[in-house]
């Protein structure tokens, strides 16, 4: 994913190389944040905060090889913070009309890809009733296609815990799909 030499240079405090690292890491960070938060702007804020944390704590990283896992761990934790902050501010954005629009889009067999704002809305609708842990496990497992070992390393949860959280997440999402789509 990232050249270990590039990380070593960044650890020495090279800003030019860090700019490159931001360019390489941002898409991954954004993808996880966007899928967890279901909001493009919030996801961008997470990217910014994550990269600042990366710069500050890059010296503490054990090896350049563990960078990816370490980066995901920061993103997930940042998303937890945002979810905690946003818990009371979440508006009931989804009305039946929105569900109908999304449903039509998904039912359309020709549509294999949906727009960014539609994706955000769909994720937001589907994961609304999930806890932050369930959200992170669902995003990392089903959307980012990570193995339970990787998820365990990122989230610090046991494999059994991951399995349980994933089960409940899928169940809740399944219920939402059954109800609205």
């Amino acid at each position: 994913m990232v050249d270990p030499e590039l990380i070593e240079e960044c650890r020495k405090g090279d800003l030019q190389n860090f700019r490159k690292l931001i360019g390489i890491s941002s898409p991954f960070v954004f993808s996880v944040a966007f899928r967890m938060l279901g909001d493009e702007e919030l996801a961008k804020d997470v990217v910014q905060e994550t990269m600042i944390t990366v710069w500050k704590k890059l010296k503490n990283i054990r090896s350049a090889e563990s960078y990816k896992t370490w980066l995901y761990r920061i993103v997930v934790n940042k998303c937890y913070d945002f979810l905690r902050k946003e818990k009371n501010n979440i508006e009931e954005r989804a009305d039946l009309k929105t569900w109908e629009l999304i449903s039509n889009k998904i039912s359309d067999t020709s549509a294999s890809v949906i727009e960014s704002n539609e994706t955000a809305t769909l994720i937001s609708l589907l994961t609304r009733k999930l806890s932050p842990k369930q959200k992170s496990v669902f995003v990392l497992s089903d959307l980012e296609e990570m193995t339970p070992e990787e998820i365990s390393e990122i989230t610090g949860m046991s494999k059994r815990n991951i399995k349980a959280n994933l089960h409940y997440a899928r169940k809740k999402i399944g219920e939402m799909l059954q109800k609205y789509i």
């Binding site: 360019g23 910014q48 960014s116 089903d142």
Partner: protein
């Protein structure tokens, strides 16, 4: 038979749900979020990173240089306070020492008389210088220069020698002695008459 039908129906519904779930997940996987405005975020991150550095350079003080190694705020403040107190104490002590030195310097001018006395090895000088020293200590601010004191003692000794010589000359010459006695008695009579 109806039980089997119901089971089959439920299975079909469950399969339908699973299919629905899978198809939605597939769509979501394919619709990978694309970040726009990467450059802006890059700039914002770099600005944020460089901001503390700039602040550090601008606000770099002597205290940062001396106590920059202490990261806990209250410990750093305590250290600054203690160092200030120590500096103030040091200045106060220095002033006190200077004052004492000044006082001792004044006292040495009196002790200088004793130095002259020792050189002269004359009991008469000893008494005189002792008296002068005592006078100096009593008068407080009145100071004698060592050289002046020496000159005064020399002239006094010289005068004393001359006086002794004169007495010896008078005693050696009885006529002169008689004449002087007569003159002195005459003088005394005159004083009495007046």
């Amino acid at each position: 038979m109806p039980g089997r039908r119901l089971e089959k129906c439920c299975k079909n519904i469950s399969e339908m749900d699973t299919n629905k779930y899978n198809s939605v997940i597939k769509i979501l996987r394919r619709s990978k979020p694309v970040m726009t405005g990467t450059d802006k975020i890059e700039e914002r991150v770099l600005n944020e990173i460089q901001l503390p550095r700039k602040k550090q350079v601008e606000g770099f003080t002597l205290f940062d240089y001396l106590f920059g190694w202490v990261y806990i705020g209250w410990i750093r403040k305590s250290l600054i306070t203690v160092s200030f107190s120590l500096i103030a104490l040091f200045i106060y002590q220095q002033l006190l020492i200077l004052k004492r030195i000044d006082m001792l310097e004044n006292q040495t001018s009196a002790a200088g008389g004793q130095f002259v006395r020792m050189n002269q090895a004359d009991p008469y000088n000893i008494i005189t210088t002792d008296n002068l020293a005592r006078l100096r200590l009593k008068t407080g601010r009145m100071a004698f220069d060592k050289r002046q004191l020496e000159e005064m003692m020399n002239s006094y000794n010289e005068m004393e020698h001359k006086y002794k010589d004169l007495i010896r000359i008078i005693e050696d010459d009885p006529e002169l002695k008689k004449l002087l006695e007569e003159k002195l008695s005459e003088n005394n009579k005159k004083k009495f008459n007046l």
